[in-house]
Symmetry: C2
Subunit: 469 residues, 2 copies
Amino acid sequence: MPKEDFRKFGHEIVDWIADYFERMETLPVLSQNAPNDLKNALPTSAPEQGEDFGAIFADVEKLILPAVTHWNHPNFHGLFSTSTSSVGVFGEMLSSAFDMKAMLWRTSPASTELEPVVLDWLRQMMNLPADFSGIIYDTASISTLHAIAMAREKLNLGIRERGMSGRTDLPLLRVYCSEQTHSSIDKAVILLGLGQKSLVKIPTNERFEMDTEKLREAIADDLAAGHLPLCVIPTVGTTSSSSVDNVERVADICERNDIFLHVDTAYAGSAAIVPEFQHYFKGLERADSIVTNPHKWLFTPFDLSVLYVKDLDLLKRTFSLVAEYLKVTETVTNQMDYGIQLGRRFRSLKLWFVMRYFGQEGLIERIREHCRLARFFASWVDNSEDFEMLAPVPFALCCFRACPQGVDDPDAFNEKIMNEINASGEAYLSHTKLDGKFTLRLSVGSIRVEERHLRKVWDLLNEKVNADL
Amino acid sequence: MPKEDFRKFGHEIVDWIADYFERMETLPVLSQNAPNDLKNALPTSAPEQGEDFGAIFADVEKLILPAVTHWNHPNFHGLFSTSTSSVGVFGEMLSSAFDMKAMLWRTSPASTELEPVVLDWLRQMMNLPADFSGIIYDTASISTLHAIAMAREKLNLGIRERGMSGRTDLPLLRVYCSEQTHSSIDKAVILLGLGQKSLVKIPTNERFEMDTEKLREAIADDLAAGHLPLCVIPTVGTTSSSSVDNVERVADICERNDIFLHVDTAYAGSAAIVPEFQHYFKGLERADSIVTNPHKWLFTPFDLSVLYVKDLDLLKRTFSLVAEYLKVTETVTNQMDYGIQLGRRFRSLKLWFVMRYFGQEGLIERIREHCRLARFFASWVDNSEDFEMLAPVPFALCCFRACPQGVDDPDAFNEKIMNEINASGEAYLSHTKLDGKFTLRLSVGSIRVEERHLRKVWDLLNEKVNADL
């Protein structure tokens, strides 16, 4: 593309994005498309001849935008509310232009060196000790997969070399987490060949926290049966209710039995930077590995997940494999040695931009404000006769439901309310089940969210309750 | 960030990228930094207060740029020469602004629907039959991991549920590839718990192609020994020399023994769109799965790897797991069901831009031209007394070495030449070993590469040979 065209269209796209961020609130949060609307609007084959970029870009507004559910919308409260900052977009612009594949130091000194520096900044902000080293993967699923693979390698059972099939000398390997654990752990044990059955889901207490006494029993029973505990994965900030497992107690059990401890704090890890929330993260310093996702709650565009590990050399032993065409003579870190992926995107750039642009104080303030807003919303629920909270609010997620008098089937009633609000495009909520109850989830995490957005959701909810009674 | 600032800095970044692409050739291909130059220039903690973005952006030119090895440089001939087009950068700008996590249809109709459409366009261009469905992952490592996981699931040995440890009923599972296969396959069998030992590396012939007679024997021997073949992975376009395994013959063997067939054409798959190269891809229509990487040789920024599978439902059975908070009532495709990662970036947008902007003809022309240039370079080597080719050139990779009279240790001599050229920043070559010989690799794949760039490398090589004699 001629330079002048690149500038012209590049500026147009920047302006379009600036307008997009500004008019966000006028757009429906949830795409109003029906399934296949976009598909049916597209040709079934690629064009023979190239098209003018102006025509292509026009289709972004016409075809793509209506098919977008706006994760950046301040009223996106579903799943976990995530959002990118402006400087996060700038980071992606530049890293896509560099288009580096960070495998060897020599092919990507910038990524190889910026990544550990930026992750050390984040480590300090999270108050983790200096014996943790960080590495960036795409998603928490992949970070956790690497953590469990490390734990498996640490057993020294020759699984890297000999595998697990065709052997009769291997005990059943067991992974422990709570009933509230994220499905990525199930997927990881499936992929690793451990089997879903090997995943022991420990019951939780009334606050949806792992019952550590039951964990202790489960491990003792397994050991008595000749099984081998592989790792324990407590969560600080579960996906369903943001509950907090007691990592200190889990760490005691792991130490006593010499079991690998991986902590999943993909969502809530960002809150560890706020001094008054530090108490939720006690015990993390004793973990072998920790996953946290700046792309969730640190205003960094997807994808950027961080795995902190104590034993970087174990991670290297788990995967390192150097083909002839990748052999180099420098004694440097080559990022390809630390994971399943050979090439890596230059992801640290966007996080560097975010940490510098907001500064530690700016990031702390925003996370603190989100948590304040969530507690504020919870106070409205608590003070209403028509609604009730269904879980504590340690961070910025409210789990609640409508419970007006005269409703026979609260599950169906709440599902109906949620679907109506989501379909309206005014706001997006998601749901979970807690204690068997259909539970509404409102997550506060957008960089653009203000009190008025929560007020809007609260008004919508009350309108629905009043209309339906 | 105020809208006006976003526009201002966004325009500055666009202009900087436009200049970067223009002045690329004045920059050293390989970063001239020494290890830790960048690291030592950075503060050891994040700033307390936020910084002005202007100051942050100035550091990109000052600190980051010197630490970049320029993959986009037309004289980057190492590994595989990959590069992004301008419209690829535009795609990343927009998808980072949308910042969607394509897990459920409802959270990302745009990604969920554009992806299969664009991959069907590519499927047609590659002349693959309509019974292949495509799915995008980040890298070929992850695509291949999914392919082997599918093959494992297809065996119906209950591995998803019961795993492989603590069992005595599982035969040794075996995966077959050639000696020239990419290390990602080793990493995948390690991760999947199959063990490196389970990977049978079939010897290759004088053109570095899998000896299919030896494959047949290896499978027969394994079956006789009570082992169970899991899958065979031929490669069309190996990383070391771009050699082409005979997929037709491998497919015959797989069919006879009912073995899963996965074809690795991560690099060369893009050349399947060129009619006169179709013959290299015979037999792909009989595969169970195929991986090809548009981020390698289709001018699409990293990362975007495509896995084509015949049995999409098998892929779903391998991983699908739906937590309560992800349950939806629509009968739609939810991309999270097809892989280890829950969220996915909106990657199809950039590939859509590339396919529309260049059109089928534009893409075919460029790939064809790269192959022509590589053959042209090979003809210079063939006509020189000081150099020799060490492998055929089916696509756009030349494997060769200097062999001037009077050199006692050609391996050391070639390594010295390569290191000197790379250190000069004038061009970047990589190496491999073929038949035990230190081999120079020159890959032609940049969207900016012209004949003059190859002429420059050829002149540099001849200068070195003449200077050193």
